[in-house]
Each structure stands twice: as structure tokens, then as C-alpha cells.
Amino acid sequence: MSDNASLRTPSQRIAWTTTLVVSTLVFIFLIAPILAIMPLSFSSSSYLTYPLPGLSLRWYDDFINSPRWMNSLKNSVIIGVASTVLSMVLGTLAALGLAQWKSRFKPLVLAFVLSPVVVPGVITAVGLYFFFAPIGLTGSYLGLILAHTALATPFVVITVGATLQSFDTNLARAAASLGASPLQAFRRVILPLILPGLASGALFAFATSFDEVVIVLFMAGPEQRTLPREMFSGIRENISPTITAAAVILTTVSVILLATMEALRRRNERLKRGG
């Protein structure tokens, strides 16, 4: 290893080897549980043990043919997409405004906008439960979409804001000086440049909603139960292999989101190096 060239003394080599060994163990700790659960979903037996007695797709079949699971998947997608769209609109506007706004209250406003991320889920959920029940927003799609939007928007503000920081405002001025209206300048100059930031914001927002369960626990009626919510009750009752199939489906979605995120990041880095 080239890094080891600088490690001259035996004690340095021991330290480096220890780092490698500990890190490897931690990597195994991080990834093994996620990998271990996957093959179980292809087991032909209903016991969640290794070695697998045989392979079968029966648990996926079970998932697809269960109205309960399919309905929860559908709900997760509906609520996820709707809150992503809403948080993109609100978050992008706010990020654009915050980038231009100069005031000593700005840190305070920013802290307020980001606070839904730090406040414990149970507190937000209890507050919303009391607040939304009298106006008929518990047990409704709208209530959940609004709540998930509140949780997801901070991520949009952070990611879009970070993109705007590296954005050269002279480009917008140049567009204006060439006669573009503010809207035209935004659509044809600013938007294409900050699009990767918007895309990562959207991914974060969708992932936040798709994974959220505490608020759903408090606010969803039987009609609005999402995939994590079904998994929660499934784990509480008795873990069946159908849950492992659901876990694989959820993980696949995460991998797709992560891969898209990585691709966006690499593209961005390439552009930065090229520029």
C-alpha cells in the first residue's frame, strides 16, 4: 500500500494495522445486518434461520397479493411524491430568498427553518396530533403530506442553499444586463445551474418521507398506513418472511436513491474540476 510507505516505525505500523482491523469490523457491523436479512426473504421456509432450506419467491408473491402491503406501498409513494413536490417548491423559494436576504435575524430564521430536523419525532407527532385532530386533518392524506413536508423541507433548504452558495451571481446579473426578465433569467440561467442541487434536495425529501414512521403512527388512519408503518406493526406482532421481503423492497429503493445521489455528486465534482 502506498500509504504505508511513510509508516517507518513498527509502532506506526501497529497503529495503522489496528485502525484497519477495527474499521473492517465496524464496516461489517454496519453492513452485515442489512445483507443478512436479504437472503431470508428468498427462503422457502417460514423460519428466519440459516442455512436456507431452499429458494422460493413465495414471500414476494405474498407481498404482491396482499392488499394490505400493496396499499401501504401505494400510500408511501403518494405521500412521498406529494410532500417532495410541496417541499421542493417551499424549500427552493426559501433558499433563494435566504441567499439574498441580509439581516441580523437571518441566523434565527435559518434555525427556525431547520428545527424540524432536530426536534424529536415524538414531540412533533404529539403536537400535530392535538393540532390536526380538531380540524379533521388526522386520518387524512393531506395531514400526512403537510407533516412530511415540514420534516423534509429543511433538507431541501440545506442542499439547495449549498448549491446557491457556489453559484456565481454575476451570471444572473449578466442575464439581466442582456435584457432578460427576472423570470427568464431564473428559468434559463439559474435553474439549469442549480438543477443538481434541486435533484439532491428532492431525493432527500423523498427519502425522509418514505422512511418516516413516528408521525404516521400518530396520525394515519387505517387507510393511510405507509410501508414503514406496516413494517412497524409487523415487527411488533411477529416477524414473518413477508416483512423481510418488504425490507428488501425498501432497501432497493434506498440503494436507488443513494446511487442517484452519488451520480449527482460525481457529476458536480467533475464540473467543478472542469470549471
Binding site: D3, P33, T49, T124, V126, G127, D211, I235, T244, M261
Partner: protein
């Protein structure tokens, strides 16, 4: 000639400055208008609900609504002796009215929180008070139905619960209560469970934070030291769990750690154990699963602080004759401290409010504060206490978040947060 030209220049300058200022102000208003929709939205979906929850922690109007005449009659009472006949008559009248409207249970529930057994006192009174007592005999009649009406504590409880606001729930959340003379004292042992609950929540959060730091530090160091190509590849090991659903990860740990799970099976197969170990539904399971969930939140800030440390410092230390361990402890480690404190605080804050993982993998003795807030909200409907516990948790979170904000000030706040 020259003088007038100068004054014309000056007035143009003033006018230009004024226009510039106006344009700048318009610009700022436009910027604020862009932020406004989100602020309004968050007021409705976040700040409002939380303010409502905090209000519920001190709101106390149930007894006042059910027993209005009694509360009015007790307003003048100094609480030193039993209240006068007027209060008894008011109570008798209130109880009969509440019985007719079916609201007696609301007051009974609230009063029972403050004084165990009050539910029985009120329902027995309501059941046995068939007709309004003759004028002047209310005290005698009520005391005959239930001797508790001859005790001062019964009446101070009603007066204390008379609202409209109360410190009762907040005091209860800290294992405190008011005695019959109104002084704040320790709650009776059978009700004093919340301080130990907060202590338990803190201990679990601290253990998880310490575990994350011990496990995360070498990993962050490795990722920051390796060449970018390789560290990017290894970063997947941190980011994949980070993006994987919390439910999937919790479920995976149950599958791995249960008595017939993968870990116990392997240990048995290797001949290390004969009987399956109890690895889940206890403190061990909670700490393992929570550490797994929160470890990426430690590694990412550590990584970014270590990435910013120039290797030149270590080389300089070595060239000045520092042994590697000394150089590490005195040059490298101090520079990682901002990352260590930011990561630790972040993990600790997130751990404090955790609900799903401890609920699913913890035993009865491992439930954290969030579990009780949820329990009191949905199961027992003791909303005042749920809100008071929530208020204490929120206060702790805000204080820690302020410290965190001070720490990361200037550092880039990256998307390293996902609940």
C-alpha cells in the same frame, strides 16, 4: 457658476443614493417574500402544533368546566380549615349538573391524577346524591356519603385543579408535587418515576454516543487518510446504512439477535454457547441497534473535520522530533475536537428523542422518554403529563442544539442529518 454646479452634483448624488437605498430595500423585501411561504407553512405544521403541545402542559380547565360553582366558591378559601357550607352546596349542585350532562368522568380523571382515589370519591358522591340537599345541610349530607369530604386534602386538590393554568403536570414530570399547604415537595414514591426515566434516557443516549465515538473514530480516520478513490468506495459502507430505512435496520437486528437468530445459531454451531444468549428485548439490544442507526451521524462530521487537517502538521511534528504517539495526541487529536464534539452532540441529541428502535427492541425497563410521551398521548390520554414530559425533552433538545449550533458555526452544515 462653479458653486451652483457643485450643489447640482451634490443633489444628484443624494438622489442617486436615495434611489439606490430604495432599490436595495425593495430587493430585501422581495427576498423576504420568497422565504415567507415556508415560514407561514411551518407556523401551521410545526411551530403551532408544538406551541399547542406546550400549552397543554399548563392548561387546566377540565375541573373548572365541570365544577364551575365549586371553583368559584373556593376562590376565597384560604385552605387552612375545611371550606364553608357554601362550597359544599356549590359542589352538590355542580355534581348533580355534571351527572346530568355526563361530564363527571372528565373531572374525576383529572382529580385522580392529583389524588389517587379521587375518582371513587366523586363517582360515589354522584351516585348517592339523589336529590339536592336541604339548604344548610350540604356539608353534612356530602360527608355522610363519603368521609373524604371531611378532609382538607380533598378540597385543596379541587382548588389546585381549578385552573385555568397549572404547574401540576410540569412538577409531576420532575417527580414533584404540592402538599396540602401548597408547598412543593417530592412526589410519593409510587408516582416518582420520571427522574429515573430521564436518567435512563440520558444513560442510554450517553452509552450510544460513547459507542459511536469509539467505533466511528478509527473509521473516520481511515476514510480521511486513504486516497480519495479508495475512501469513496469505502464510504458506501457508511452511506448505505445511512440511507436504509430505520425499520429495515431495526428488523434486521431482531432477526440477527433473537434467541433462534443468526448470531445465537452461529455461536451455538461454533460450540461457544450451549444455551441461546438473551441479546434482544434488553439494554444490550437497544444499545447495539441504536449505535448501528446513529453511527453514520458520528462518522460523517468526524470525517469532514479530519479531512480538513493538513498532513503537513504531522510531518512538521515528526521533523521536530515528536514520537508518533505524541504527535497524534498533541497535534492531530486536538484538531479533530470540533468534529468529535459536533458528532457527539448530534448523536446525543438524536438518541435522546429516539422512539422506534427502543420501542421495538427494548424491554420494559429500557423504554426511553419518547415511549412514555407516546403512551400517555394515545393509550392513557393523560395529555397534560404527555405534554409536560414533551416540554422537558424539548427544552433539553433546544439547549443542546444551541450548543451544537455554536460549535458548527463557520463549519459547513452538510446534509448529515436524517431522523
Amino acid at each position: 457658476m462653479t458653486a451652483s454646479a457643485t450643489s447640482a452634483d451634490a443633489s444628484t448624488e443624494v438622489r442617486l443614493k436615495r434611489r439606490l437605498r430604495r432599490a436595495e430595500r425593495a430587493h430585501q423585501v422581495k427576498a423576504l417574500a420568497l422565504v415567507a411561504p415556508l415560514l407561514v407553512f411551518l407556523l401551521f405544521t410545526f411551530a403551532g402544533p408544538i406551541a399547542g403541545m406546550l400549552w397543554r402542559a399548563v392548561d387546566d380547565r377540565e375541573v373548572r368546566q365541570v365544577l364551575p360553582q365549586t371553583i368559584a366558591a373556593l376562590a376565597e378559601w384560604d385552605g387552612k380549615e375545611l371550606p364553608d357550607e357554601k362550597a359544599y352546596a356549590a359542589l352538590a349542585s355542580d355534581v348533580q349538573a355534571a351527572r346530568a350532562s355526563g361530564t363527571i368522568a372528565i373531572a374525576a380523571k383529572r382529580l385522580n391524577y392529583a389524588l389517587n382515589g379521587f375518582r371513587t370519591i366523586l363517582t360515589s358522591t354522584s351516585r348517592n346524591l339523589k336529590t339536592a340537599p336541604e339548604p344548610g345541610t350540604a356539608k353534612e349530607t356530602l360527608s355522610k356519603i363519603n368521609p373524604a369530604w371531611r378532609e382538607r386534602a380533598t378540597w385543596t386538590t379541587i382548588k389546585d385543579a381549578g385552573g385555568p393554568i397549572t404547574g401540576f403536570y410540569l412538577l409531576a414530570a420532575l417527580d414533584l408535587t404540592r402538599n396540602v399547604d401548597g408547598a412543593i415537595v417530592a412526589a410519593p414514591p409510587d408516582q416518582a418515576i420520571y427522574r429515573s426515566l430521564f436518567a435512563r434516557t440520558f444513560v442510554i443516549s450517553l452509552s450510544v454516543t460513547a459507542l459511536c465515538l469509539i467505533l466511528g473514530f478509527p473509521v473516520a480516520y481511515l476514510l480521511a487518510t486513504l486516497p480519495p478513490g479508495r475512501s469513496n468506495l469505502l464510504m458506501i459502507f457508511v452511506l448505505l446504512p445511512f440511507w436504509t430505512s430505520l425499520l429495515v435496520r431495526t428488523c434486521a437486528w431482531i432477526v440477527l439477535l433473537q434467541s433462534k437468530g443468526v448470531v445465537n445459531d452461529s455461536l451455538h454451531w461454533l460450540g461457544i454457547i450451549d444455551e441461546p444468549l438473551r441479546l434482544i428485548y434488553n439494554r444490550f439490544g437497544v444499545c447495539v441497534a441504536m449505535t448501528h442507526v446513529l453511527l453514520p451521524f458520528m462518522i460523517l462530521p468526524l470525517y469532514s473535520s479530519m479531512k480538513a487537517i493538513s498532513p503537513a502538521y504531522m510531518r512538521a511534528a515528526a521533523s521536530l522530533g515528536a514520537p508518533p504517539l505524541t504527535a497524534f495526541l498533541r497535534i492531530y487529536l486536538p484538531q479533530t475536537l470540533p468534529g468529535v464534539s459536533a458528532g457527539s452532540l448530534l448523536v446525543f441529541i438524536l438518541a435522546l428523542g429516539y422512539y422506534i428502535t427502543p420501542t421495538l427492541v427494548g424491554g420494559a425497563a429500557d423504554q426511553m422518554i419518547s415511549y412514555f410521551i407516546a403512551l400517555y398521548t394515545t393509550e392513557t390520554a393523560n395529555w397534560g403529563l404527555a405534554s409536560a414530559l414533551g416540554a422537558v425533552l424539548l427544552l433539553a433538545t433546544i439547549l443542546l442544539a444551541l450548543v451544537y449550533g455554536k460549535l458548527v458555526q463557520g463549519q459547513q452544515v452538510t446534509g448529515g442529518m436524517k431522523n
